[in-house]
Amino acid sequence: MNYNADEKGYYGEFGGAFIPEMLYPNVEELRQNYLKLMYEDSFQKEFNQLLKDYVGRPSPLYFAKRLSEKHGCKIYLKREDLNHTGAHKINNTIGQILMAQKLGKTRIIAETGAGQHGVATATVCALMGMECIVYMGEIDIARQAPNVARMKMLGAKVRPAKSGSRTLKDATNEAIRDWINNPVDTHYIIGSAIGPHPYPDMVTRFQSIISEEIKWQLKEHEGRENPDYVVACIGGGSNAAGTYYHFLDQPEVGIIAVEAAGKGVNSGESAATSALGKVGVIHGCKTMLMQTTDGQITEPYSISAGLDYPGVGPMHSHLFKSGRAEFYSATDDEAMAAGLELSQLEGIIPAIETGHAFAIFEHKKFKKDDVVVISLSGRGDKDLNTYIDYFKLA
């Protein structure tokens, strides 16, 4: 089976470009050019140079000895938290800002949930001297104050999304409306593996550097390129897409996705799309989606602002539906406990999003010799206030 996008952007039955005509010229321009541009030698050279000198890649693949002892398997951490700006998000924004330049765009817009993608976008806009507007849900602005400040300091304008649940999905709506209103000079840097084709495929390819590095790094550590499992948390699914990419066609590698169950999958306050969703259309693509029987999109909940998206990227819907990936979900409490455990066993404070991936050990027992690579997608500095409140650290 093929797990990548076909020419029209479909992963099995999922994907495509369900966009109003107002967006067609921009999306079509991108569709026609993205592969050609991104694999030009000069593009690759500039992209890789920036990833090395500016982002600090390759990010280490670290053998987590104490965590491994605790959970009875061999655990490696892919340290995306050590990237410049503190998460995997910058891999994609570097790629897309170069793409925007090649397309002659001068103004950048983005949506953000936790603020990591907003910060990564504001960062590359500062780097390239481009105007930057970031849409962010009003609620997320309140709970991710440090990232809002970072974006402002980097010169970006942060515009609150005040409609709906006032979180990531609504910020995405606002960014799309901005693009409709500014169809000529603007490029929309989508931060997750969602949106109309070619976004899911383009974002996945820019993030695929994660699994590309895992392969040669694991070879150095273990003498083999393929782990037994790769594990990632999933909101829209960009870090997961990049972590899985080079293993999708390697059947011996188990693919594990951990969604946010919020207060429990059936609590009514959850973001566990694979368990609660059905096929629908959101933000320009057909994918698994949390919705009412009437087709109204449900407002998701998670303690982590980066995971409370009511859908998953179309690639992940296909991985779920085809059975290629195992899907689990972790509650707020499980993710927070896993974050604390990682902090105290390995000296690494993860983002709460990332904490969900580490909660896998609550749900799955690995064998002693299993090599398990977990994508440590982001660091926890931005979540300190939430950690302080939750663990009463103050």
Partner: protein, 254 residues
């Protein structure tokens, strides 16, 4: 029976079409609003099916959609409200909404219901041309529904030709690069866009929407086009004046 949209387009006049969100201001205002619009000389009506995430709409229609959903509006309720509409209303009726609610209802079941009620056409902005042609055109046609596509000032001539070929009613000409309800007045840019489209001699007439709110903008829009659609301005009128002052609104247009 020929489609009411087709018949209406043959009339020798500029057409005034009004959009409103079903379920707004109150859940059960739908039928009265439609009847009043017809009584006051409106030529065609777009009944908005509210959606939680209307990404092509500005604040006015977003807010009316949110309010309609809070009032309890669903696809099933709209169909129930409209089931006897053809006993009292004869002008063309179009359902305008986003694709996901239609998909969840079932595209065929949705189209069948529309035919039973006497709906003449559909506008689904996020159902793109290629998906429509491949997957749904046959179903729309089976139930006698005209699908209406949008074009914008950025749409290429080649694409406009493709849309013209796939259309069998009218083309919804979005007046400017914007979401609904956001621009005030038309400038030189719109004029030249209107003229460019007029000079293409398309087989389908065009009806202009987005940014029309009064007599002046209606006249500008219909100089070359067959008609114009008013949405946000009418919803603002409903918000400010309630449902029983429709005549005051339509008088301001023509």
């Amino acid at each position: 029976m020929s489609n009411r949209i087709t018949t209406k387009l043959q009339e020798d006049k500029k057409l005034l079409s009004i959009y409103f969100t079903a379920g707004y201001p109150a859940l059960n205002d739908t039928v009265q609003i439609i009847q009043d619009l017809e009584k006051n000389g409106v030529d065609m009506i777009e009944i908005g099916l509210p959606f939680s995430d209307p990404l092509a709409d500005g604040p006015t229609i977003q807010e009316s959609s949110t309010a309609a959903l809070k009032n309890g509006m669903t696809t099933e309720i709209i169909f129930n409200q409209l089931k006897d509409i053809r006993k009292t209303v004869s002008i063309p009726l179009i359902i305008m909404g986003y694709f996901n609610p239609m998909l969840q209802y079932g595209v065929e079941a949705f189209c069948k219901k529309c035919q039973e009620i006497g709906i003449d056409g559909l506008i689904m902005p996020d159902l793109p041309l290629d998906v429509y042609k491949e997957d749904y055109e046959a179903t729309f046609k089976k139930y006698g529904l005209i699908n209406i596509f949008l074009i914008t000032p950025q749409t290429s001539d080649v694409r406009i030709q493709q849309i013209d070929d796939a259309s069998n009613g009218f083309i919804y000409m979005v007046s400017s690069a914007s979401v609904t309800g956001s621009k005030s007045g038309f400038g030189q840019e719109q004029e030249s866009y209107f003229e460019r489209i007029a000079s293409m001699n398309l087989k389908n007439p065009q009806i202009v929407g987005f940014g029309i709110k009064d007599e002046e903008t209606f006249k500008q829009a219909t100089k070359t086009a067959k008609g114009a659609i008013i949405g946000s301005a009418f919803i603002k009128h409903l918000t400010a004046n309630g449902t029983d002052k429709t005549a005051e609104f339509t008088k301001l247009i023509r």
